[in-house]
Structures are given as structure tokens and as C-alpha cells.
């Protein structure tokens, strides 16, 4: 007795071979994805606990520096306080209830000076970072996209990049006399170079990728290509640069103040405060004048650095699920 040969076709579900009618709602379901670039970025960012904590800290700090002058019982940052009985300046007072961070060597209140200085430094940082991003992206994009201009801009870049930044900063602040706007101008003029180069390299790499070519062949408008294909790549870099530009700008402000070309003394900034503290560094009981600004400065710069790195990681679409 022979067993019937088992065929693959024996147990087939006949319903699979019936003709289906087109169902629009089911077709919709397969094409639908609830992926959203910014939401994924935000979710990735939240996973980094340290960066999130620092961001909250920076937000609180930012709000505090902005509203600090309007809070009750605040001293003026530039006013010199006098002793009421002797009419002498309250020099080098240690931290007390009256002056929370003490006073400096001519009797100004250190607490309000520090917040006023943080305001100035952050302002410089934001403006320089913003300018760097705008100019850098613009020039970088032209540099990367327009092939004819590539050589010329590369030559200009080589020349500009080979003049040491210190020299440009020093020369400019020297020629233009130190004040807030010249300081910002001097930093802006050197800051965009790195950004432009970065953007240019990225655009050169991705402008002829297959997916862009495919989009172009399918007739996607240029605006949509830029918005959907190129921008997500650039966002992470831009955010990173922007976040790193802030500590860098604060750092170069400190540097310029250190060599005596920074802001005038009557505008408190973190660089000015640290410089004042440095002079008194050698007497141990006056070191608080160096510590307080240095701590605030470190907290601000480290926070921006960490947040920038974490956000750049999160904004990279390749890291999304």
C-alpha cells in the first residue's frame, strides 16, 4: 500500500487566492507612520538624564538672571555702597545678609554684579552664536551648492583661517576701542568660519546622494528637498555649534578681558569679574571674589557644552528608532 505523496499544494487556504477588492482605509494603514522628527529628537534627548537636568538648571538660571533686577531687595550692580556711620566705602566685605556674595574692592555688591555679568556674558554668547549660525549656514550652503564658487571661497577661507584668531580679535578690539558691540563684532567676524566649513562639507557629501537624486527625479520641489532631506542632517550640527558657540564666546570674552582688551570696567561681565578676582587671589580671605564668578561661569559653560552634545546626538536621525 503506497502512501499518497504529500504535496505542498494539498493544504492551501483557498481564500488566499480569491480576488480582493481595493480597500482604501487598509492601504492608508500600511503607509502611515507616526514618526515625527522633533518628537523623536525630544524623546532621545530626555533619555540623557544629566543633560536634561542641566537644561532645567540653565532654564532656571536664565529666567533668574532676567528677572533678578526686578526682585525686591536687590542692589545695583554698579553702585558703590558706603558705610552709613563712617561714610567710607564698604570695601572687600565678606558675604553677609546685606551683601550675599560680599562686596568687591571698591564696595560694589558682588551678588548683583555676578548676575548682571552673567546677563552680559550670555547675551554676548547668544548673539555671537546666532550670527555664527546664520552667516555660517548661508556661506556654507553657497560654498557647497554653487560649484563655480568653490575654488574662490576655498582660497578666501584659507587666507582668513590662517590668520590666528587671537590676532584678529586683538587687532579689532584695539582698532575699534573696547565696548560691547565691538567685542561682539570681533567675535562674530572670526566665529562663522568653522560653521561655514562644516556646513559646506556636509552639503557636498549629501547633495548628490541617491535619496536626493531620487527625490529630484520624482519631482519634489527644491524647498521640500531642503526641508525634508537636507535640514534634518544639518539640524544636529547647527544645534551643536550653537550650543558650543556660547561657552566659546564666554571663554574668549574672558581671554580678551585677561589681556586687557575686554569690556570697560563699568560693564560687569563674567570676564571682568574673574579678572577682578584674580588680582586679589593671593590674599586667602578675599578669594571668594574669584570663586563666585568662576563657579557661575563653569556651571554655565559646562551646561551648554553637555546640552549641546546631548542634543546633537538626539537630533541625528540615524539615532532614532
Amino acid at each position: 500500500m503506497r502512501k499518497p505523496i504529500q504535496k505542498i499544494a494539498d493544504n492551501i487556504d483557498e481564500s488566499l487566492f480569491t480576488i480582493h477588492t481595493f480597500d482604501a482605509s487598509k492601504a492608508e494603514q500600511t503607509g502611515y507612520s507616526n514618526y515625527s522628527y522633533w518628537r523623536s529628537t525630544w524623546q532621545m534627548f530626555l533619555k540623557n538624564k544629566v543633560a536634561f537636568f542641566l537644561m532645567v538648571l540653565i532654564c532656571i538660571l536664565l529666567i533668574f538672571t532676567l528677572i533678578q533686577p526686578y526682585l525686591p531687595y536687590q542692589k545695583l550692580p554698579t553702585e558703590i555702597y558706603l558705610d552709613e556711620t563712617t561714610n567710607m566705602q564698604l570695601r572687600n566685605q565678606h558675604p553677609s545678609i546685606e551683601h550675599w556674595f560680599g562686596t568687591n574692592s571698591i564696595g560694589q555688591d558682588l551678588w548683583s554684579r555676578i548676575w548682571s555679568g552673567t546677563r552680559t556674558s550670555l547675551f554676548i554668547g547668544f548673539i555671537v552664536g546666532l550670527f555664527e549660525a546664520v552667516i555660517g549656514i548661508l556661506i556654507g550652503a553657497i560654498w557647497g551648492y554653487v560649484r563655480k564658487l568653490d575654488r574662490i571661497i576655498t582660497e578666501i577661507y584659507n587666507v582668513w583661517n590662517n590668520i590666528p584668531t587671537t590676532i584678529i580679535l586683538v587687532l579689532l578690539t584695539y582698532i575699534l576701542r573696547p565696548c560691547l558691540s565691538t567685542l561682539i563684532f570681533a567675535m562674530c567676524i572670526t566665529g562663522w568660519l568653522g560653521m561655514a566649513r562644516f556646513v559646506r562639507n556636509l552639503i557636498v557629501i549629501i547633495r548628490d546622494r541617491e535619496y536626493n537624486l531620487a527625490s529630484r527625479c520624482l519631482g519634489t520641489p527644491t524647498g521640500r528637498i531642503i526641508y525634508k532631506n537636507l535640514l534634518p542632517y544639518l539640524v544636529s550640527v547647527i544645534m551643536l555649534r550653537l550650543a558650543l558657540a556660547i561657552p566659546a564666546a564666554i571663554g574668549s570674552e574672558v581671554f580678551l578681558t585677561y589681556i586687557g582688551l575686554g569690556l570697560p570696567v563699568d560693564i560687569p561681565s563674567l570676564g571682568n569679574l574673574i579678572n577682578e578676582g584674580r588680582i586679589l587671589m593671593m590674599s586667602p580671605d578675599l578669594r571668594y571674589q574669584l570663586f563666585f564668578p568662576a563657579i557661575v561661569l563653569s556651571v554655565v559653560t559646562i551646561s551648554f557644552y553637555v546640552i549641546g552634545n546631548a542634543f546633537a546626538d538626539a537630533a541625528d536621525p540615524r539615532n532614532h528608532v
Binding site: V159, I167, V204, G251, L261, I302
Partner: protein, 314 residues
């Protein structure tokens, strides 16, 4: 390779020429007080004009520029006017360069050793304790302005270890702190890049193959990963060695080292134009030729890199 190098060298000279000319023209924008030295207040207008004329500063700009470049070709960088009056710039540089150079080279050796070591250590314990410690160190060094942590090192290290605060050539202990604080920054840089390149390299297929073949971890690390990871870093090495000559402004002023660090700022503040021009020429030369040497060195390390074809293929 040779043809390419020559072409690059010529291009470098051309770039240097433009940079120097730009700076020369920028210096003409500066106030003219700097040309008279101490006697500025005593002179009247006609005397000033006469002095400027005798120095060739009333000639057309083109001729001034030509004279300046001819001077450079003959190794004549001009004479300092205010910083040390009537002393040739080259003399001033001769007394200052040795300090900066020896301090800088020492700090490069230390930071290369520590930085590469830290990078390797961090890669090997990726995501674990040492990696986190190293990342913390890198973040702090990169984010906090150098002026701040240099100050704190000087403040506390001198107290704790009884080291001298100020620099003295004859006391070896006074060399320790400047060199150490100088190498902190570049140590962080080297460690960061070393870690990044090594992690990249470890994820590549040939490493997986080597592991599958049963090669020892140590051999893979030394023979494959480290060698490949070092190539991109070789590019920056010549520039950083050349730049030790320029000195470190913060360190040298904090420990009062008679080096090159503060010279440029000093010269600019006192408006000593010939000195500024000479220094800018030097710095620009360093960065241009540092880049050039770096490319050559990279090609020497990695035979796959063909410099000639750069730009042609995209």
C-alpha cells in the same frame, strides 16, 4: 606625490604672501603714535612728518608693501620701535623662543603620552567607570575657559605641593606646574579624538574578522586599531609642535616666564608695528606649513591616502 608636494608648497607660499600683505595693510590703519617711541609728546607736527617720511611711511602703499616683502626675503624683519627700541626683531625673538619651545615640547610629550593613554583606556572600558571619568575630564577642560582652571591650579598646587609660584630657569621644580597646566588642554583633545577614532575603527568589519580568526585582543588593538586611529591625529601633530614656539599667553603671564606668549599682545598694546608684523608672519607661517606638513605626514602613515587625487574625485 613629489609633484603634489611641490604644488602644495607653492600654494602655501602664496597664501602666506596674501596673509602677510593683509596684516601689513591692517597695521596701516592703526594710530601712528607707535612710530615715535618715548619722545612722542615732545615732537610737533612737522617733526613727526619728517620722522614718518624718513621711515618710508609716507611712500605709496604699494611701495611700502614691496619694501616690506623684499625685507622679509632678506631675513630682515625690521627693528622694534617701542618694545626694545632700535633692537632688530630677530634678536628679540632669539632670546624668547628657547623658553617657549622647551616648555611647549615638554608639554606636548606629556599630553601625547597621557592623552593617547587615556583615549585607549576609555575605549577599552567603554561605557564603564574610566570612560565616564575621562568624559567628565574632557567636558570640564573643554567647557571651562582655560584662564579659570589655570588660576585654580596655580592657587592650590603651589600651596599643596610647596612648588614655587613663579618661574625660575635654574629651579627645575618651577618648571613642573607650567608644563602640567599647559598639557591639560591638549591631553583632553588627544584623548577625545583617540577615543572617537578607536570606537569607529572597532566597529569595522575587518576587526570582526580578526576576532573571528582568533587573534588576541591585545594584538588587534596594537596592530590594527591603534595604527588606524593614529592616522587622522598625525595631521595635527606638526602644527601643534610648530605652535609651541608661539608659547601660551596665560601660562607665561601667570608664572612670569620670559617667553613668546605675551609678546604679541604686548607689542599690539604698545603699538610696536614692526614687531607685530614679524610675529603675525611667523604665526601665519606656522599654521600654513603645519597644515602642509600634516598632510604629508598623514600620507606617509597611511599608504592608502593618495594626496594627488584629492579634489579630482568627488
Amino acid at each position: 606625490m613629489l609633484k603634489y608636494s611641490l604644488k602644495r608648497l607653492l600654494q602655501s607660499f602664496f597664501t602666506l604672501f596674501i596673509v602677510v600683505s593683509v596684516v601689513f595693510l591692517l597695521m596701516r590703519l592703526m594710530p601712528e603714535e607707535g612710530y615715535f617711541g618715548e619722545s612722542f609728546e615732545k615732537l610737533d607736527e612737522t617733526q613727526k612728518e619728517a620722522i614718518l617720511e624718513s621711515m618710508g611711511l609716507r611712500d605709496p602703499l604699494i611701495i611700502q608693501l614691496k619694501d616690506f616683502h623684499l625685507g622679509i626675503l632678506q631675513g630682515d624683519l625690521g627693528k622694534s620701535i617701542i618694545y626694545r627700541p632700535k633692537v632688530p626683531v630677530t634678536e628679540i625673538l632669539k632670546t624668547k623662543i628657547p623658553y617657549s619651545l622647551s616648555l611647549g615640547l615638554a608639554s606636548i610629550c606629556i599630553s601625547l603620552f597621557c592623552g593617547l593613554g587615556l583615549g585607549i583606556l576609555m575605549t577599552r572600558s567603554k561605557g564603564k567607570f574610566w570612560d565616564k571619568i575621562g568624559t567628565g575630564y574632557i567636558v570640564v577642560i573643554n567647557a571651562v575657559p582655560a584662564a579659570v582652571y589655570y588660576l585654580f591650579i596655580q592657587l592650590y598646587a603651589t600651596n599643596c605641593f610647596k612648588l614655587p609660584i613663579l618661574f625660575d630657569v635654574d629651579r627645575p621644580t618651577s618648571w613642573i606646574l607650567p608644563i602640567l597646566s599647559m598639557s591639560l588642554g591638549s591631553t583632553a583633545g588627544y584623548a577625545m579624538w583617540m577615543r572617537r577614532y578607536m570606537v569607529d575603527e572597532l566597529n569595522k568589519d575587518y576587526i570582526r574578522l580578526a576576532k573571528a580568526k582568533g587573534m588576541k585582543n591585545k594584538t588587534i588593538m596594537v596592530k590594527h586599531v591603534m595604527r588606524n586611529a593614529f592616522v587622522p591625529m598625525a595631521q595635527y601633530l606638526p602644527a601643534s609642535i610648530l605652535f609651541t614656539i608661539a608659547g601660551s599667553l596665560y601660562i607665561e603671564s601667570l608664572y612670569s616666564i620670559p617667553g613668546m606668549g605675551g609678546l604679541l599682545v604686548d607689542a599690539i598694546q604698545r603699538q610696536d608695528n614692526p614687531l607685530v608684523q614679524a610675529l603675525v608672519l611667523m604665526y601665519a607661517g606656522f599654521s600654513i606649513f603645519g597644515l602642509f606638513l600634516g598632510d604629508i605626514l598623514m600620507a606617509a602613515f597611511d599608504p592608502r591616502i593618495k594626496l594627488d587625487q584629492q579634489g579630482g574625485v568627488r
